[in-house]
């Protein structure tokens, strides 16, 4: 009995080899596995016969049976791996992937170019410690003009053709209104910028009835023209590039004195002054207006001009964006043509 069982066990490995030699596929292999290792398979039959052996014989056969089982398992495993490898090899060999086929396109979008530039301006001034403040677009005469030292009948009003509402209010012509609103309610130090939408009733190639401005204001004891120059120099060099030169030109605004226009060296021709359509060969581009807050403005908002001084500046965001992004036509900003918007 013991001998026949041992013999049967010995024979299993050979039988497995024979069966494997016939196997064609992974499923054949599973069948073979069942035949040898299944619940009623060859090995199981041998093991079930073991019950009839004596107590001394049983471990001897048992040891052998375990050895054989392990051998069968590992043989089957390696054979399975062989088949899998073969299938994989075939699959790899027949894969005709073409890396030059187009990838699945992913679309990105971006903020409106004007908003991007506005955000950049905001960010630069935030870094310099300026707080971003907002104010209403529908304003009154007082905040838009009178408090800014532009009384009725002042010729400076000609430069700001104003939209009026039927209610008698107006659409602010500049975001300078926000500096008034802030100074009316807060005490210095005030260090703010006011980005926003403004309106002037003017529409041609270089004027849009709606456009955007960033106004800035820094009021404290001891603020002087040198600080104005310092802050704006930092801003301009950060915005247009450190190679940019700047110059301050005397000018006039009713709400600042002394007043200045700030010019930067032409970002297109780099002040080469030859056939440059942007700076018209002057080498300079006007980018913003600025000046020391006029004492009359301080008096309007109840701050003592003998104690406080400060500077203000204002720039057109469209102009900054056109210069920065090389956009030739103001109207593109408001046409919402995806071919334009997708470029930035």
């Amino acid at each position: 009995m013991k001998e026949s069982l041992l013999q049967a066990l010995d024979g299993l490995e050979t039988q497995l080899e024979e069966a494997l030699a016939q196997a064609q596929s992974e499923s054949d292999l599973l069948q073979i596995k069942g035949r040898f290792l299944g619940k009623k398979g060859e090995l199981a039959q041998v093991l079930s016969a073991m019950g009839r052996l004596s107590a001394e014989e049983r471990p001897q056969v048992g040891v052998k049976a375990n050895q054989v089982k392990e051998a069968l398992c590992s043989r089957l495993q390696s054979s399975l791996q062989g088949f899998q490898q073969k299938v994989l090899d075939q699959a790899l060999a027949s894969d005709h992937f073409d890396i030059t086929l187009p990838g699945v396109p992913v679309e990105f979008s971006s903020m409106h170019p004007l908003i991007q530039v506005l955000e950049e301006i905001n960010t630069l001034f935030r870094r310099l410690g300026f707080e971003v403040r907002y104010g209403p677009e529908i304003e009154d005469e007082y905040h838009n003009f009178e408090a800014l030292n532009i009384p009725e009948d002042h010729p400076a009003r000609d430069e700001q053709d104003t939209f009026y509402l039927k209610t008698g209010r107006l659409l602010r012509t500049h975001t300078s209104t926000v500096q008034i609103r802030v100074m009316e309610t807060e005490k210095p130090p005030i260090k703010m910028i006011a980005p926003g939408t403004v309106y002037r009733s003017d529409h041609d190639l270089t004027h849009s009835p709606m456009f955007h401005q960033v106004e800035g204001l820094w009021v404290d004891r001891g603020i002087h023209f040198g600080h104005l120059k310092g802050v704006l120099k930092l801003f301009v060099k950060s915005f247009f590039g450190s190679e940019t030169n700047l110059r301050f030109r005397a000018s006039y605004f009713p709400f600042t004195e002394p007043s200045a226009e700030l010019d930067v060296s032409c970002v297109f021709c780099h002040a080469k002054k030859s056939a440059c359509p942007v700076c018209k060969d002057t080498g300079w581009l006007e980018v913003l207006g600025c000046g020391m807050v006029d004492p009359n403005v301080f008096e309007k908002v109840g701050l003592d001009p003998q104690v406080y001084s400060g500077f203000a500046f204002g720039m057109g965001v469209e102009r900054m964006a056109m210069l920065k992004l090389g956009i030739p036509d103001l109207r593109l900003f408001f046409e919402n043509d995806l071919r334009f918007l997708k470029q930035f």
Partner: protein, 797 residues
């Protein structure tokens, strides 16, 4: 203002190239906007005489001229009507290249030889537009280079004079600036008085002394009106004025030179012995020099005789009393008017003139008198005047104002230690005399022409610009803790949050004008009456402040779709406006076209309202937290079955807050706009979001235990909405139900008519332990029971 450098050089001596001068002026606050050179390209242009004029045998409009230029006689074909034998003309010879780019060659015109061209003033670049060729006075010598005989070489600068510098609206005023910039002395010319030789005069009756504080006039008789001397004409043309006759030209010449507007009346058109300065009567009419009859109002100031208005004071003369070829007797006027009334009348009548422009910006009240004397002197020289009456004057000479300035104030504003003394030559050139007072302050005498200098800060500005802005040193301040307010406001946070989300979903940001047409609003059922209308819109398209963003956003959907863009994801984040002062930040988004970009492997899937809804929910709940639900809505432009209002609650049972709406456009709308794909749109009022941001995000520990997933396949009546089921899932799902989603929606066989099947995928889990099958099954079982009783659901077989 256009200024001739030749003219300027009569008042200040300089030899700076014009480009450099332009830059120096610009830096000092007198921005030079353009410049041009006169006399360029005129080297081959000579004075010549037409000897003979015949008509061209082959062309009616052309004539054949024999033209003598010194020793030579040339044949010229000319097209101008005003060419006559004997005329002195400007001949552009072969080889000339004129300022307008025209090259003169010998040629045959309709078979006739032409050896040059008779030029017009515009062809020589001396005026904008000419009629006919330039006929020169016979006194000009023939056969000479025109540039030399007429001293044509000049530079013209266009200076933008800011509204505060009325004193620079004259050659003299600018000469003062140039002198100051170059630290050269400037002395104003002295115009002596011209003694009368007759007693002819009128009486002044000034009824508006508060507006007209000085009025000077004078009678000249026996005047010969005719063309001005050529050099005067050329000077006026170069500065943009049209020569008229010697009298008018002289008033204009002096206005440009001194800044004092002047007027000459035809004395014989005046009735009575008085000249009146009075307000117009309501309904009074006056035909002004431009030929337009003006309806006057009682605020308008006129110069009048006993019976009628003669001129709009400070603005424009009347046609009837204007000086013409037949005028022999003159009344000359030199006056000073207050800026505001002149500006109001000029604005109301839409009549801005060289005169009103100057009065609005302040004219030197001291000039009134001496400019009239100079006008008389020049007219006597140019118009052979026989009788000169006495100057009749109203008003006193202005007083000199004093202004004191502390050096410490200069430093406080400019950050610069400087004494006015160091800029003395420049300040003196501007007419500013100053001295140190006993209190240690600088006392400035302000000349009458500088009405803009009334406060110490005005002097500080003069000092800054004369010193040079470029020389003021930049200064930097270290941040101190008190100016640190680096906090972002809720508005800044919300805007950047939204823009990030839109960017992640490839939505493009649009910007539309804040105003739109009433028609557009009405097309979307918005009652425009409740909106803010502009009283002076530029066009009907921009007449009302928009109360919502979506009408224009849909307009951009249509526009872009017409341009062939199919995949449209647009948003706008801007203010909308109520009828009075309300302004609210809104968000609108629109979606249409394929869900993804075309790719050969993918079958394109069209987006619809659910795409928009999913994204919108995500961004709103991401900011607000809480719950969203959908309310009834009936907007006629939206698909009747696919629209809803959007309602937010902090938690179930909390008060409801309507945030906006969403919907798919009506199929009829798509047909009208010729758009194939569904278009979805939404608009949200962000006012509520600004006030309520989800409380701070706090970290939750990550569970180490496995989750158990189960499907729940329900059959329901068609009428039961998904949200009813979802509510039961939320309320009765049990504490172990961590998340779930709708996996499938099915209608049709083998379900009965009126039924639908919803399959939910449920995820169970716990942070504390692994779940047993039993407790998950139990949880699912009790959920099913709840669904049965609440929604009439049954489990699908």
């Amino acid at each position: 203002m256009l200024i001739s450098l030749n003219w300027l050089k009569q008042f200040v001596d300089f030899d700076l190239p014009s480009d450099d001068l332009a830059e120096r002026l610009s830096l000092a606050g007198l921005e030079v906007e353009a410049s041009k050179t006169l006399g360029q390209g005129l080297d081959q242009v000579f004075t010549a005489t037409v000897l003979e004029k015949k008509s061209h045998p082959d062309a009616d409009r052309l004539s054949l001229c024999q033209v003598r230029c010194g020793q030579e006689t040339l044949s010229i074909v000319c097209g101008a009507k005003n060419v006559e034998a004997g005329a002195r003309v400007a001949l552009a010879r072969v080889g000339a290249k004129l300022p307008n780019g025209l090259k003169i060659k010998e040629s045959k015109i309709r078979g006739e030889l032409s050896q040059g061209m008779l030029a017009s003033l515009s062809e020589l670049g001396l005026e904008e537009k000419s009629e006919g060729i330039w006929i020169l006075p016979p006194s000009i010598e023939e056969g000479k280079a025109i540039i030399e005989v007429l001293a044509l070489q000049d530079e013209i600068l266009e200076v933008n004079v800011t509204p505060n510098r009325g004193d620079c609206l004259s050659i003299q005023g600018l000469a003062r600036e140039v002198a100051a910039i170059l630290s050269k002395p400037f002395s104003a010319p002295v115009f002596p008085s011209y003694p009368p030789n007759s007693s002819a005069s009128l009486e002044i009756d000034n009824q508006a002394p508060e507006i007209c504080d000085r009025y000077f006039c004078r009678v000249l008789k026996g005047v010969k009106v005719g063309p001005s001397p050529l050099e005067v004409q050329l000077k006026l043309k170069a500065c943009g004025l049209r020569p008229i006759n010697n009298v008018v030209d002289t008033t204009n010449e002096l206005m440009l030179e001194t800044g004092q507007p002047l007027h000459a009346f035809d004395l014989d058109q005046l009735e009575g012995s008085k000249v009146l300065i009075r307000f117009a009567q309501t309904g009074e009419k006056l035909k002004t020099l431009d030929g337009i009859e003006r309806q006057l109002k009682s605020q308008d100031l006129v110069i009048a005789d006993q019976t009628k208005a003669l001129a709009l004071a400070g603005i424009m003369g009347g046609e009837e009393s204007s000086v013409t070829e037949s005028t022999v007797n003159l009344l000359l006027e030199s006056a000073h008017f207050a800026p505001i009334p002149i500006r109001r009348s000029a604005k109301r009548l839409a009549l801005q003139t060289d005169s009103s422009y100057r009065f609005e910006r302040q004219v030197d009240p001291a000039a009134t008198c001496w400019v009239l004397e100079e006008l008389s002197r020049r007219l006597i020289e140019r118009a052979s005047v026989q009788e000169v009456g006495p100057v009749v004057a109203y008003g006193e000479a202005p007083q000199t104002n004093l202004l004191s300035l502390k050096e410490s104030e200069i430093e406080r504003y400019l950050g610069l230690k400087i004494s006015p003394k160091s800029l003395e030559p420049k300040l003196k050139a501007l007419g500013l005399e100053f001295s140190l007072s006993s209190t240690g302050e600088w006392q400035f005498k302000i000349p009458s022409f500088r009405s803009d200098l009334t406060r110490p800060i005005d002097l500080i500005e003069e000092i800054a610009r004369l010193y040079g802005y470029d020389k003021i040193e930049e200064a930097f301040i270290q941040l101190s803790s008190q100016d640190l307010n680096l906090k972002l406001s809720n508005l800044e946070k919300l805007q950047s949050y939204l823009r990030e989300q839109f960017k992640a979903q490839a939505y493009d940001e649009c910007l539309h004008y804040s105003f739109c047409s009433k028609k557009l609003l009405e097309a979307y059922g918005l009652t425009a009456d409740a909106s803010a209308f502009l009283s002076n819109p530029l066009s009907e398209n921009w007449e009302v402040m928009r109360p919502a963003l979506f009408p224009q956003l849909l307009g951009s959907v249509v526009q872009n779709s017409r341009r062939g863009q199919e995949r449209l994801r647009l948003y706008e984040l801007r203010s909308v406006y109520g009828p009075t002062t309300e302004e609210n930040l809104h968000l609108s988004l629109a979606l249409s076209g394929p869900r993804s970009l075309s790719h050969f492997r993918e079958k394109p899937q069209m987006t619809d309202l659910l795409d928009l809804k999913g994204f919108l929910e995500e961004i709103l709940l991401g900011w607000l937290g809480g719950l969203l639900s959908y309310g009834e809505l009936r907007l006629s432009f939206l698909h009747p079955k696919r629209q809803s209002s959007l309602i937010w609650r902090a938690h179930s049972g909390a008060p409801a807050q309507t945030l906006g709406f969403l919907g798919q456009l009506h199929p009829q709308w798509l047909l009208e706009k010729n758009i194939e794909n569904p278009v979805s749109v939404a608009e949200i009022d962000l006012a509520f979001l600004l006030g309520s941001c989800k409380s701070k995000r706090v970290f939750k520990p990550l569970s180490d235990y496995p989750q158990v997933r189960r499907d729940l396949n329900l059959v329901l009546d068609q009428k039961v909405s998904q949200s009813e089921v979802a509510q039961v899932l939320v309320k009765k799902g049990g504490s172990l139900l961590q998340s779930w989603y709708l996996k499938d929606l099915y209608r049709g066989s083998p379900l009965q008519e009126g039924q639908k099947a919803l399959t939910y995928h449920l995820t169970y889990g716990s942070d504390q332990r692994s779940l047993t099958d039993e407790e998950v099954n139990q949880a699912r079982e009790s959920l099913l029971e709840a669904l049965k009783s609440a929604c009439g659901a049954r489990l699908r077989d």
